[in-house]
Subunit: 193 residues, 2 copies
């Protein structure tokens, strides 16, 4: 039995990424759940921002940003960066995060996040009360201690998960299978007409 809850943005699991905008000298952090990869060639990521957001003004002045994947144990810091505005406070200082100089863009990435992407804006799209920002990913940083046998170790990254509507932060449980592999157990049959 299905229950209808109406037109809703109830959708999870989501990442809870920290997007840094502004400049190297004056960076700001915003928490974004509505973010995903949109292309592999070139690597491109997109996220949604309310038009009134301070971060949107900053990204229009300096059209670069970094995406930072926080570990689950920083969920309080992540939540804080989504609650307050950079107009009013310096969030790097408030949550004691360290700004690391980026290689390709004049905006820092966050040391305390094990996975970071440097991005430059390639497109902005209007969508009602929101702007969708598309950024080409120029470089990816991973903490050097988050690899096992030269492969990124998800358990060591320990990424934070967000579930909207219920407004809950979760961590990951267990690896249960491999992509482009687990599905090979099904026989592929001819389509019936």
């Amino acid at each position: 039995m299905k229950k209808q809850i109406g037109a809703s943005t109830t959708f999870f699991p989501m990442p809870s990424a920290l997007v840094v905008t502004g400049t190297a000298k004056n960076p700001n952090i915003i928490t974004i759940g509505w973010i995903c990869i949109v292309s592999g060639n070139p690597p491109t990521i997109a996220f949604s921002l309310l038009n009134k957001r301070h971060s949107l003004q900053l990204i229009r002045k300096n059209p670069v940003f970094t995406v930072n994947i926080p570990p689950a144990d920083k969920y309080k810091e992540v939540d804080y960066c989504g609650i307050v505005s950079g107009k009013d406070t310096n969030k790097f200082r408030d949550v004691n995060f360290t700004a690391l100089k980026s290689l390709n863009v004049d905006v820092p990435h966050i040391k305390e996040c094990p996975l970071n992407m440097e991005c430059k804006v390639i497109k902005e799209m209007e969508l009602g009360e929101r702007a969708i920002i598309f950024g080409e990913i120029l470089e990816t940083h991973v903490d050097s201690d988050k690899f096992t046998k030269n492969k990124i170790d998800v358990k060591k990254i320990n990424p934070l998960v967000y579930c909207s509507t219920v407004r809950e932060y979760w961590n990951l449980g267990e690896k249960i299978g491999l992509g482009f592999s687990a599905g090979n157990c099904f026989p592929k049959e001819k389509k019936s007409k």
Copy 2:
């Protein structure tokens, strides 16, 4: 210490959603990790598809779709729907999924997925070798046994998580905090000039 791995789409956690296109009589399923909510007003979701995908042809013929959140224990079915093309086979039959009639769109949702959204295409954007499909969410269905005290119970939904690049399916672990609440522990200070 950070290690640089180049311009990459390494980004997780991601959902691993099943998008159904086509028609009620002839539906097709595709697995999409590059999908996220982009607006709340009206509720809107977007996802990325390679131009060559069969599902893109189907969605252009009938510009509606459903988004279905699979439970973690269906990871083999999910993986299969990402490996094979609906041009060659009937994936509903192959993985033994049940097509349920939708209320607002002429394309079904999947019974075996505890969370489903009915959507109509409101925009398509070209992005190199890909199309980004934007859909307004018209209705959300949740299995009636996935609530606890009238609130959606994430543990009961048990959503599947995908980690790209390492190509791993994961389940969720534990709830660790509440959004728009956990961050209130930090003192908000005046921005230093």
